[in-house]
């Protein structure tokens, strides 16, 4: 028995343990609590990395909770798996790694950022729980557990968004998010229950092997797609997103980005692995593409007119999610068409997967940089800022890198994933690529505005005493900057080790099902 077999369970168990021991450890003082937060998230990151490496070498990792043998999915005489099963293929492990990096960076940032606030033991506890929810969503192999983890993440994030309960706006944002998130979750649970009623199973692989596309499955698919699109902030359902991203403490906004990516992961997993080719090649792919186009265009046009820095970035999140939806939608469109898949479909999926990673990294960094501005100046309104580049050189440097990456300026990683999406969506219809390009230009325009008003310009008397942020915050941003630069400089290594295995695992429905059902498809 090799201990690396237990990595999927440990990935969830370690942050859970961290969340549970926090009240006890907090008795020992502030230093001990901060150490706990950093150590927990760092160990999680290491486990996520090892899991990803393990999956890359030895194929899909399956873990059955509480079974005599850790990967015995179907005990004797069972036709369908009944236990709680974790399944980590290359795509799940990729997403878990991506989320763990964001979680670690946010934790480092929070140490200095959140000092001086009361109730920090709750913050640490909820932060670990939010990490558990986000990681659980990415590696679970079971629909109901997906729901449980999405709810763990939601409830933890309601608490964290309203963490500054002395600010009325934070409470309001949290209330709005609670309302829409609960309605979406209930619809999601309704859909999962309907699937259980028909197929007597909750495991994604087990249902996927039995699924026939009928009346009920159509409705269920719509419910799942719409709910998860709402959770990751696609256009007409995005209004909670700028509110809650803007009002949450910045370390949390950074992790919320990863949580929304986990929701997107769920959407993609359901479409590719649960439904797969049975989904048909017309309606749902076009819905996803249209949601993507609407999100990217309207999100960015709303962002151009904002003057609250975090709210502006929240609208950019809507816009960036649109790119991924576009990429995955184009991939779904040609799922049953081998020639189209080889021509441009696979490139689109690669673009979507790569953009998920890039987006998490640079948007997390942007939120952290906005948090640094709030930390030093106490303001979020861009009208009141200016001339901060001389005072905060490191923050400025990292902000410029993140802004260039999100705008898709050529040497940076955002460009590579956007290039893949442009070229593949151009093959479907040129207008898709045109809208994507216009959105990209507007993204650049709005970040030029942020950079010009906040960092450039003459020094202002109000900010004479402003200094560079403390080292903990710089370290949090530094982690993400290093990742962005590494991915930018070595795109082909990233593509062949990170993105390509993940995209292959995503497309390979039979492989995902076979890992659980024993190849009996």
């Amino acid at each position: 028995m090799n201990w690396t077999d237990h990595l999927p369970a440990l990935l969830l168990a370690v942050p859970l343990l961290g969340a549970f021991v926090t009240p006890l450890v907090s008795l020992g003082g502030k230093m001990l609590r901060n150490t706990l937060l950093v150590v927990t998230t760092f160990v999680t990151l290491v486990i996520a990395f090892l899991l990803w490496k393990d999956v890359l070498v030895s194929g899909t990792a399956v873990y059955v909770m509480g079974e005599k043998v850790f990967n015995l999915t179907m005990p004797s005489g069972m036709k369908l798996p009944v236990r709680i099963i974790l399944e980590a293929d290359a795509f799940s492990a990729f997403m878990a790694l991506c989320g763990a990096i964001a979680s670690f960076a946010g934790a480092l940032f929070s140490l200095n950022y959140m000092e001086g606030f009361s109730g920090m033991k709750r913050y640490v506890s909820l932060y670990c729980l939010l990490t558990v929810g986000m990681l659980g969503m990415t590696i679970t192999g079971d629909l109901f557990n997906f729901f449980v983890f999405i709810e763990i993440a939601s409830i933890a994030s309601f608490g964290l968004i309203a963490f500054w309960r002395d600010k009325a706006e934070a409470v309001e944002a949290s209330f709005k998010y609670t309302l829409v998130s609960q309605v979406a979750s209930m619809v999601l649970l309704l859909a999962f229950g309907a699937l259980y009623g028909k197929y007597n199973a909750l495991n994604i692989a087990a249902i996927g092997s039995l699924l026939k596309f009928g009346f009920m499955e159509k409705i269920v698919l719509v419910f799942i797609v719409a709910s998860l699109a709402c959770k990751c902030g696609a256009f007409p359902m995005h209004m909670w997103l700028p509110d809650s991203y803007a009002e949450a403490p910045s370390g949390v906004s950074c992790l919320l980005v990863a949580v929304s990516q986990a929701s997107l992961y769920g959407l993609v997993r359901v479409c590719f692995s649960l439904y797969g080719v049975t989904m048909g090649a017309s309606f749902i792919p076009w819905v996803v593409i249209l949601l993507g186009l609407a999100s990217m265009f309207f999100g960015v046009t709303m962002a151009v007119v904002q003057h609250d820095i975090k709210r502006l970035m929240g609208y950019h999140s809507v816009s960036q999610v649109g790119y991924m939806l576009l990429g995955f939608g184009v991939g779904m469109l040609v799922l049953s068409d081998a020639k189209g898949m080889a021509d441009y479909g696979f490139a689109a999926i690669q673009g979507g997967v790569f953009h998920m990673f890039n987006y998490t990294m640079y948007k997390a960094l942007l939120f952290l940089a906005a948090g640094s501005l709030y930390y030093t100046t106490g303001k979020r309104d861009l009208n009141d800022m200016g001339g901060l580049a001389r005072k905060m050189p490191y923050t400025t440097f990292m902000f410029v890198i993140a802004a260039a990456a999100i705008a898709g300026l050529p040497p940076f990683n955002g460009f590579v994933s956007k290039l893949l999406i442009y070229e593949s969506s151009f093959a479907v219809h040129p207008s898709l690529a045109a809208i994507a390009l216009i959105s990209s230009v507007l993204t650049l325009a709005s970040f030029v505005k942020v950079f010009q008003t906040a960092f450039l310009g003459p020094e202002q008397n109000a900010f004479l005493s402003v200094r560079e942020v403390p080292s903990g915050m710089l370290a949090g941003m530094g982690v993400l900057t290093v990742v962005i630069l590494a991915v930018s400089l070595f795109p082909s290594i990233t593509m062949s080790y990170f993105v390509e295995p993940a995209s292959k695992a995503l497309v390979d429905q039979a492989g995902y099902i076979g890992a659980i059902m024993g190849g009996g498809m």
Binding site: V187, F223, T453
Partner: protein
């Protein structure tokens, strides 16, 4: 090479771009070094020129606020922005309403198509 990504239509080489930026930076610094360094420090040649007015002490008075950026763009797109900003009412039931409307439309359409 480890900087090249093939997209299926073409390729993207990060190193070539970095090389290009290096060359561009070289030329840029070279042209900059051709400039005159014999200006008189501490005189009017060193001052900010602000439409022949006295430059204010506080930088806040001469910096461009964020609201002023892209004023023409917003003015030109006014009808569009009126509708779009009007959509974001900020009421909690409206947010749920958009979700319900999307689910309803999708459910009806998927049964028709």
């Amino acid at each position: 090479m480890w900087g090249v990504v093939h997209t299926g239509f073409g390729s993207w080489d990060a190193l070539a771009w970095i090389l290009f930026f290096g060359i561009a930076a070289f030329f840029l610094l070279w042209f900059r070094s051709l400039g005159r360094s014999d200006y008189k420090k501490g005189t009017d040649q060193d001052e900010i020129f602000w439409s022949s007015n006295v430059v204010p002490e506080d930088g806040a008075h001469i910096s461009v606020p964020a609201d002023a950026a892209y004023w023409g763009f917003r003015k030109g797109m006014e009808p569009f922005y009126k509708g779009l900003v009007g959509m974001h009412t900020g009421l909690a039931p409206d947010i749920v309403g958009w979700y319900v409307v999307v689910v309803a439309i999708m459910s009806v359409l998927i049964l028709i198509v």
